[in-house]
């Protein structure tokens, strides 16, 4: 069985940052593997270790910088990686769900995996929709927000728990090929070993352009336009205690005692 994992490099904001136009300049951003994708990679690597998956391939839409993040996924055990980027994508602005679906769809057609794992969401733009959209585009079945996976490879069935709101899980089965969007907590993502990091240097990251995928530059045109970005107005009326830890803790303790906390 072949497993494809979509992997995104996400940006988080530094504590102090500025906004220029509709984006935050690079110097205020810290890049990392999207947390949800880390769990998806781990789930795929575990399927490989269990002898269920023969090959784990990652797919990323991202600039050259993201190869560092992709190498992390390879160091954790993925076999090879595909990275899509070119000038048309660079200039496209907002890569909405439709755009990402069109690009990933071509990779899936090329790779023909039995199982696709994506993160539930990306921590930067948080659309939480690409996995399900990709499944629909491929006419695969899908299960979203999966926090337990039991794969029956012989029957081609994925038995999953879908994590609903309020501590409730839905017990569902779907047929492969399928897309599962993976929730955090499904497993314990490993740290890459030194050996893994060394091996990752030898693994292939195939760079592809839209043209390589048989797509026109118009494929990344979106009907969505990001028109403004700003810091939200805070409605906070918080009382912040100032001082050294013993002073702030003392002031807080006084308030808590007033509220009856700690009174026996």
């Amino acid at each position: 069985m072949k497993v494809l994992v979509t992997v995104k490099e996400v940006a988080a904001l530094e504590e102090d940052f500025e906004i220029e136009g509709t984006s935050v300049p690079e110097q205020y951003l810290e890049y990392d593997l999207n947390e949800w994708d880390d769990y998806a990679v781990e789930e795929a690597v575990q399927l490989q270790e269990d002898g269920i998956a023969e090959e784990v391939v990652t797919a990323t839409i991202g600039p050259e910088r993201s190869e560092e993040t992709i190498r992390m996924a390879l160091a954790k055990g993925a076999d090879r990686a595909i990275r899509v980027w070119d000038d048309a994508i660079e200039d496209a602005g907002l890569l909405d769900v439709g755009v990402k679906t069109r690009v990933l769809e071509r990779i899936v057609e090329e790779e023909d995996p039995d199982l696709i794992l994506t993160g539930v969401q990306a921590s930067d733009d948080g659309f939480s929709a690409t996995g399900v959209s990709l499944a629909a585009a491929m006419d695969y079945q899908w299960a979203s927000v999966v926090n337990t996976l039991d794969l029956d490879a012989d029957d081609g069935v994925a038995k999953v728990h879908r994590e609903l709101e309020g501590g409730i899980e839905e017990l569902t089965e779907i047929d492969l090929p399928a897309v599962l969007t993976i929730q955090t907590g499904i497993n314990e993502p490993r740290y890459a070993s030194l050996r893994g990091i060394r091996q990752a240097q030898q693994k292939e990251i195939a760079h592809q352009t839209l043209d390589d995928l048989g797509l026109e530059a118009t494929a990344v045109e979106s009907e969505l336009t990001l028109t403004d970005m700003y810091e939200p107005e805070t409605e906070s009326d918080v009382t912040v205690f100032e001082g050294d830890p013993d002073e702030t803790a003392g002031a807080l303790a006084e308030v808590l005692r007033d509220k009856g906390v700690g009174a026996e």
Binding site: I19, G98, A135, V145, E170, E223, P232, S236
Partner: protein, 320 residues
């Protein structure tokens, strides 16, 4: 195309979820902005009862699809395809919930429609729909524009008030035939997270710990404070994901909703999913080293400092 809005109700295990009534408020707002009617789809379960309950001020039409009991994404998709074919609405509005996000993106893809998710506010400016969304863990807000014709949006829960006043909607059974062979997922039931040793929803004082605690062994610090002030220990999602505390301690959208008299959030940034589960607390205290952490937006009292410095001092204050 009509100027109408088709919103979708959500229910689980025999009960409508509150977001259904929020969708009526948001849907009415959008229908007014577009100059059309608000249609509401209620699919599966006891649809007649649901429709009665959903008949609130602002809804023009309610369409019921009586098939199956619980949510199934393929049933919802088939039903919505038939309804959209019939009504040709300008906007399809789903809740930005686990289940809403299980069908809305698929619907958008199959029909080649633009999709904007997790909308917290919107306006219509001429022919343009302007959505307000958050990015980067709620640290910035953005506006995203798209043509206000034939699009799909999902709205964040708890952003619009629930519609309450009784309405006079026209309730009708939708002309929908569900093709059983085209239903993929087979759902056998539900499981609830085990209650375990402690019920955090019963506690008067909760000390909740988040990612800022860094290591599982450091949770001891929080337990010592909880002991000293006779409180119960709760947690945000990352702490539970890391198995530093069991799942029955989790506060938030996917965990428990709590409303203790005092809630002390330690090393918790205050992501919207967490705040959803604790904003009803009487007094909220936040200890976090990041002054911009969203938790301070909902806190009554705060300390901006290293929790490893502050928490032991606080414990000592209470003789711990």
């Amino acid at each position: 195309m009509s100027d109408d809005v088709l919103a979708v109700a959500e229910h689980r295990r025999g009960e409508l979820r509150p977001v259904s009534f929020e969708s009526i408020t948001a849907g009415r707002q959008l229908a007014d902005a577009l100059g059309g009617d608000l249609h509401l789809a209620v699919i599966s379960g006891t649809v007649e009862e649901y429709a009665e309950d959903l008949d609130r001020d602002g809804v023009d039409y309610i369409h019921t699809v009586d098939y199956g009991e619980e949510f199934n994404q393929d049933v919802y998709l088939q039903a919505l395809e038939a309804l959209v074919d019939d009504l040709d609405p300008a906007a399809l509005m789903a809740p930005n919930t686990v289940n809403g996000l299980a069908y809305a993106p698929a619907f958008a893809d199959r029909h080649g429609l633009p999709l904007v998710t997790d909308v917290v506010d919107f306006e219509v400016d001429g022919d343009t729909f302007v959505a307000t969304r958050e990015m980067y863990a709620s640290k910035v807000e953005t506006t995203t524009e798209l043509p206000a014709e034939r699009f799909v949006l999902t709205i964040r829960d708890a952003e619009w008030p629930e519609a309450e006043d009784r309405g006079g909607a026209e309730i009708a059974r939708a002309d929908v035939t569900i093709d059983e062979d085209a239903i993929g997922p087979r759902t056998s039931g539900f499981e609830e997270v085990a209650a375990g040793d402690v019920d955090i929803t019963e506690a008067e004082t909760l000390v909740a710990v988040g990612r800022g605690i860094e290591e599982g062994e450091n949770v001891e610090l929080i337990e010592a404070l909880a002991d000293a002030i006779d409180a119960t220990v709760a947690a945000s999602r990352p702490v539970v994901d890391n198995d530093w505390l069991p799942k029955n301690r989790q506060v938030g959208q996917s965990g428990k909703t709590v409303s203790p008299e005092v809630y002390i959030a330690i090393g918790i940034s205050g992501a919207v999913q967490h705040v959803a589960g604790m904003k009803g607390a009487g007094t909220i205290v936040a200890i976090n080293k990041d002054p911009d952490a969203p938790i301070f937006d909902v806190a009554d009292y705060g300390i901006v400092d290293d929790l490893f410095e502050v928490v032991p001092e606080l414990t000592e204050e209470f003789g711990g």
